[in-house]
């Protein structure tokens, strides 16, 4: 009785540990093998870039065929063209409505909606934000951008929310939808554009559809999650009273899920605002046009002002929807005050419409392009030793050597290395998918450019992950540091993605390093936050036990917190890499070249269309490959796997 074991389980066979090799042997052997093979086969079996690859011509021909048959093929006549007309209709209606409101009406409506969503604070933010856009001198372009954003968001929600509800109710639908959404979220923005042009031509309709698709995943995902999370007890209660499925949906599930769904709207708007400016590449009107033109001329001041305008719009829409998501129903009195305020503010705006000029008054506009450019010039003049030094260190120390290796290594060696690495890190399935993606990239005749993009992504993500890790660890260990970091991270996450290019351009001019810097600023907040959250999630009981055994702080970090946060760390790496890829691609707008540039060139030159389309696909493949390699979060070597399964 005294020493009876609690439960008799068959003893595990003690493995023959003496004969097993140390764990570092295999990776080191792998690295040595790759180095030896590289030295031996350097320059052989390389796939240099060829602008005249047959595939590109073939794609051009396909495009020509589509153009020729656009008005005769039944698919276009009865499906594609109608979709296009529908999207164009939505856009034009919203745009006409916004224009008809005039600037006083729109300001009044914005303030009214802000009031409705979150009281006087949000009303003030909305008013000030939109007025600021006018003061910056970009009223008309902003209205275009707003119209594009709203029309694509409306369409995203129109399709996304029902789909989300369906996915939330049906596990089977969820199983189908989830992987599709996963891939959609990895796809860099650019990749959405080329196929749109093929189907819907260039212009606002095409831009609306591209943005709609890009912005839909969060709407679907968050709606599904919201519906799933509705308390089973409430649903059961409703059903026990004899409610039909639709009644339960309309009276219980949706109302209970509403606040969360509002968060989905918030995320959808944020995604749309990341995409809309880029659709200027396919001739969509709005702030993006001014922005891209200025970037092309490396006129930082002229790019920064429309950039700030987009950020202002983003902040207003974010605060508004976020406040709406947090809102709690008040009594009748409170409701009367809310709607009354809304009506008064909107009516005030509209009433001023006939009195005031149709255009935003020019005398209120301030010119800040010149001063900004002066600052940029000053930075260039005084900080050049520093910025130039950083640029050179990264370019000559990291980018060039790595790119040299990747482009001069035989394609089979790179592929084999990816296969083995992905296999080790994330398992066989991931390894095979990653390899297949890479082989397809080779098949697209874009190997060399893909390796250039990969170089930038690798360098940027190493820097990003290292910095994010350091910041996350610091934030997890010091409450002070965390308190300082939080608002910065929050602010960073409201900004549309391309706006990160602007400070980078201001500091470093055009080039690959600028793209890397932008990716860094873009991805570091997310990485740091995931790391911090992961470390903080380590249970206090475990930490206490380790501390009571006499662990130093360093031992706590290395032996307890980091290993236990493994899942979050891998997720952080994964997100860091995917976000870096997204940004490096946009970096083509500031001279980062590679695949991103191929896509952009495809819109500019008729004869480069095929290459652009192929590059867009190659980017998707690259994204899937990088994502698979770092999907070890649910990988095989974690002891947690069983619990999750």
């Amino acid at each position: 009785m005294v020493s009876a074991p609690v439960q008799v389980a068959p003893p595990v066979e003690a493995p023959a540990r003496a004969r097993r090799l140390p764990r570092w042997v295999a990776p080191v052997a792998g690295v040595v093998a790759v180095v030896v093979l590289y030295v031996a086969f350097r320059g052989k079996a390389v796939l240099p870039h060829d602008d005249d690859a047959t595939l590109f011509h073939w794609l051009n021909d396909a495009r020509d065929w589509v153009d020729a048959n656009r008005n005769s093929s039944p698919i276009f006549l009865y499906v594609v063209n109608y979709i296009r007309l529908g999207a164009a209709g939505v856009y034009e209606a919203i745009q006409a409505g916004l224009v008809a409101l005039g600037w006083p009406g729109l300001l009044g409506l914005a303030a009214g909606l802000g009031w409705l969503a979150g009281g006087w604070r949000i009303a003030l933010v909305s008013f000030a934000g939109f007025a600021g856009v006018g003061v910056l001198g970009f009223w008309e372009a902003s209205v275009e951008t707003l119209a594009l954003t709203l029309s694509s968001v409306v369409l995203s929600l129109l399709f996304g929310i029902p789909l989300g509800i369906w996915a939330g109710r049906s596990p089977r639908v969820r199983r189908i939808v989830t992987p599709v959404l996963d891939v959609m979220q990895i796809m860099p923005t650019f990749s959405y554009l080329s196929p749109m042009v093929l189907l819907f031509l260039i212009g606002p309709a095409s831009a609306t559809i591209a943005t709609m698709i890009y912005a839909m995943p969060p709407a679907i995902r968050i709606t599904a999650m919201a519906i799933q999370r509705v308390s089973g007890v409430a649903v059961e209660a409703s059903e026990s009273l004899g409610a039909t499925g639709w009644q339960t949906l309309g009276k219980v599930r949706l109302p209970l899920a509403l606040n969360t769904i509002m968060l989905g709207v918030n995320q959808t708007i944020a995604a749309a605002l990341s995409m809309v400016p880029l659709t200027a590449l396919i001739a969509a009107p709005g702030l993006g046009e001014d922005l891209l033109r200025a970037l092309a001329r490396v006129n930082v001041g002229a790019a920064l002002v429309p950039g700030v305008a987009i950020v202002l719009i983003a902040i207003v829409l974010d605060r508004m929807t976020r406040a709406a998501a947090q809102r709690r129903e008040g009594g009748t009195r409170a409701r009367a005050v809310r709607w009354g305020g809304f009506a008064v503010l909107t009516a005030a705006g509209l009433a001023l419409l006939p009195v005031l000029a149709q255009d935003f008054p020019e005398q209120w506009e301030v010119q800040i392009v010149r001063p900004i450019n002066d600052v940029v010039d000053w930075i260039e003049a005084h900080w050049y030793t520093f910025t130039g030094f950083l640029n050179d260190v990264v370019a000559y120390g990291l980018l060039n050597p790595l790119q040299d290796v990747l482009t001069n290594a035989p394609w089979w060696l790179v592929t084999a290395a990816v296969l083995v690495f992905a296999w080790r890190v994330s398992g066989a399935a991931a390894g095979l998918v990653a390899t297949a993606c890479l082989l397809c990239v080779a098949g697209l005749q874009l190997w060399e450019h893909a390796m250039e993009t990969l170089t930038m992504v690798l360098v940027a993500s190493v820097i990003t992950i290292a910095a994010g890790l350091a910041l996350g660890v610091a934030a997890a260990r010091s409450r002070w540091f965390a308190a300082g970091l939080r608002p910065l991270l929050d602010a960073a996450q409201t900004m549309p993605s391309f706006s990160y290019l602007l400070p980078a351009v201001a500091l470093f001019g055009n080039g690959r390093f600028t793209a890397i810097t932008a990716s860094f600023i873009y991805a570091v907040p997310v990485v740091a936050r995931l790391v911090e959250d992961g470390l903080r999630a380590v249970p206090g009981t475990v930490m206490e036990a380790a501390r009571s055994a006499g662990s130093t702080d360093r031992q706590l970090l290395w032996k307890v917190q980091l290993p236990m946060a493994r899942g979050s760390l891998l997720l952080a790496a994964n997100q860091g890499i995917v976000m870096t890829l997204a940004m490096v691609v946009i970096g083509a707008l500031v001279g980062a070249g590679a695949l991103g540039y191929d896509v952009v060139a495809g819109f500019a030159q008729q004869e480069d269309y095929g290459k652009g389309l192929a590059a867009g696909v190659a980017l998707v493949l690259l994204g899937v490959m990088l994502d698979r390699i770092t999907q070890g979060a649910n990988g095989r070597r974690s002891p947690h796997k069983k619990r999750n399964a």
Binding site: M1, V2, S3, A4, P5, V6, Q7, A9, P10, P11, V12, A14, P15, P539, T541, V542, E544, A545, A546, R547, S548, A549, G550, S551, T552, Q555, K559, V560, P563, M564, R566, S638, P639, H640, K642, R643
Partner: protein, 356 residues
Amino acid sequence: MGTAAIEVRGLWKIFGPKADRIIGSPDADLEPAQLRAKTGCTAAVRDVSFEVRPGEVFVVMGLSGSGKSTLVRCLTRLIEPTAGELRIDGQDVRAMSAKQLRELRRHRVSMVFQHFGLLPHRKVVDNVGYGLEIQGVGKAERHEKARRILSLVGLGGHEDSYPEQLSGGMQQRVGLARALAVDPEVLLFDEPFSALDPLIRRDMQAEVIRLHREVGKTMVFITHDLSEALKLGERIAIMRAGAIVQVGTPEELVGAPADEYVADFVRDVPRAQVLSLRWICRAPEPGEPLDGPELPADTVIHDAVPAAMASDRPIRVVAGGELVGVVSRVDLLGAVRPEPQPVAAAASAGATGEEA
């Protein structure tokens, strides 16, 4: 008293802002609830003093929230005490530097936790070896040691499992093995078996008794379960609202509870199994026959029954060869009767007892 393994004098722990100002002020005498209302601070440990002898099993018990966990964590300064003296093996713990404190935790005092606190990413053997690992002991040696300890706690053969593959009872054995692996002088247990079901709890208690017999460590054992306390404790301290109400052997607590609170605690104890004859013997009445069976004074009442059955003469209770008193059959019956007598107002104390 340099011989005590643990020596605590006037220990205080007050959670909250400006806690150190409260000690010495009149506020310190307030009940915790009043103190919280007045200052916003929580007094979790209030002026606690006790000593633990080397090799002793010292049990601290009390209701939930009475400050037991806080007290035991103060002993290795996992929670920093607000005031008081604290010595382990004669060394002043409160004066220790961070480094000395780590050394203390690494080599001399180990702790077993209610929720195990195992590292889910490590195998059982590496969990047990954790303490050795952070001391810098080499892998082969610590695995060797961990295996030995694991078989000592009855977990041989489970070295390569992960904690989550084990049942709760087995996980706590791992926790126990981890604490034992560094060969500490003192083991601290914070309600180690509360999360386990009753049968496994009994096994584990037996395990602790066995280990104590085999390795003879000093143990401080926190529990809110009276039967556990009686089973394990050589001496028991009863805590209420942060203060120790009474310290004594199980017999002393049952036989002479210091106040209603303690009496209420021990009310359901089967007295016949705890009290010895010493507690119920009386001077022989004139004319009483003194030729009955003779029993030592520390015989438990329960064990005196056969002797009383065998003879109708009063039992003669002796200690050190001297007669200390006699116990008749009626006395025995009186002691076995369920309602304890030392507290006249037991009925009114019933209200507090419900919370337990």
